[in-house]
Symmetry: C2
Subunit: 328 residues, 2 copies
Amino acid sequence: MKLASLRDGGRDGRLAVVSRDLSRACLAPVPTMLALMDQWEAREPALRSSYQALNDGQCESFAFDPEQAMAPLPRSFQWLDASAFLAHGALMTKALRLEKNVQGDLPLIYQGGSDSLLGPCEDVPFPSEALGIDFEGEFAICLGDVPMGATLEEAQRAIRLLTIANDWSLRALAAREMATGFGWLQCKPSTSFAPVAITPDELGAAWDQGRVKLRLSVSLNGALFGQPDGAAMDFSFPELIRHAARTRCLCAGTLLGSGTVSEGAPQRVGSACIAEMRGGEMILHGEPRTAFLKFGDEVAMTAYDADGHAPFGALSQRVVAAPRQEIS
Amino acid sequence: MKLASLRDGGRDGRLAVVSRDLSRACLAPVPTMLALMDQWEAREPALRSSYQALNDGQCESFAFDPEQAMAPLPRSFQWLDASAFLAHGALMTKALRLEKNVQGDLPLIYQGGSDSLLGPCEDVPFPSEALGIDFEGEFAICLGDVPMGATLEEAQRAIRLLTIANDWSLRALAAREMATGFGWLQCKPSTSFAPVAITPDELGAAWDQGRVKLRLSVSLNGALFGQPDGAAMDFSFPELIRHAARTRCLCAGTLLGSGTVSEGAPQRVGSACIAEMRGGEMILHGEPRTAFLKFGDEVAMTAYDADGHAPFGALSQRVVAAPRQEIS
């Protein structure tokens, strides 16, 4: 089943069921994705019926336009973002000559802002190019309720939907915010999401061991920037959920990201973020060579399955100057 | 105007208007606080009329029972928590013999979990006493929409409601999570809130310069633990809002905490958290003497105005073992 939230003038959008090939859509029998997450068990059968009828051409439908899609959850009660590809952290530690990798042997997860998430084709405003504007391509999941102290099995069962996220980052602010120990605030503005979120069964064998085992293709101004494989994820999504739920419950609608998809091999498969590419260049050449983003740059992300289809559709966004720019 | 969210079996509660003396309540003409925050300007006049009628005994009402109150926002799209009382950080830096204060000259704010906030009389479950269970008494505000790059004036105007928060903390997890630079996750479980959130005009002169200039009285098992003054806040709420909104907008319903109210003088006025009390003891005696919390301990918080009234009512909660306890 594939779901999208369509622009309707409201803050939460209008929930729509989208056909498997992303060509058609119909309005869902639940008004918003937020409402659905609260009542998933009760509402799932009706939604699956709609999805079946839509794919069979047996219901009224309209063309699905990703430009009209908000984030699948335009706002939610929680956005947790992990760093579950250890090769990324190891490469950055080496490139930045840090004393030690901050990772340790536990999953790293930060609490991100979930109050204003961006749709797949929305312009992305920033106050200044001097802030080191970067993207981070990730796989992400949306959860049902998770009790405090959840087991791996409970964590696995709570996974409702899968999607792609672009965790926009302002690298010039990262070091200062990390040094405080309080985590990221200004450094991590609104995150963007793919046009649809899909149930795990849609991926077939590519949803395996709690991982999305697909390459995430990231391009910058039309040129391929990287295509690291989600199979390289060191902590599975259930392991991340269990870690996050150790001391608290997680409310239905919680979004959880994998962190930058990475094989730690920017020269071989490219990277899903500029920072990692620069890290590889620092190791290889003693200096970074790839610039951070400028206003007008276009960033696209998608994942292709074995048949060459894009199960999540694509993000395709332009970085723009915020209405109020900083003097820099 | 004073507002509460009453238990109704749902996740967001039923919005109620509460009388100035907190004795009576009536259902609000908007179903939930979340809905109200989305439409504040349109709905405020009707709510103020209800509040006037309630205070005048001119409408149907029922006794207000804080035991039936959820958090004013039982869940929201954002919970930002600052550390705006610099005396607290300075004392902790000295006590822990840290190389330098992490503060710098900018406000410190972490992104907290907003998906499951606790009411003023709810038991507070934790998986283990070994985690260093602590409270943190704070003042907090609830915001309307704030644009990216907001000015101090815009920030001030976005302040809708004031309340008290208890930012429960697990100190045994703090050092590890701070060292990662990713901020707090397991260390900061669900935060608790006072039974009502109130419009700033309710405080009269005690709402001044973007600060709640009242003492926050914190007691542990019935004995006064501290009563530091909110007037000692170094960064005002508008300054904190401006900092948080530098690179992103803040959605209506955003909650923002002051951080532990502190005068940095645990021997004189006590403290709003155990960690600070222990810090004072370490400086004075070379070792901490006050223990962290045990299951069964009761923590209460309230603020009194010049007339001896408690404008926000009181939090009064018991620390309990989570249904699934860790083996420790």
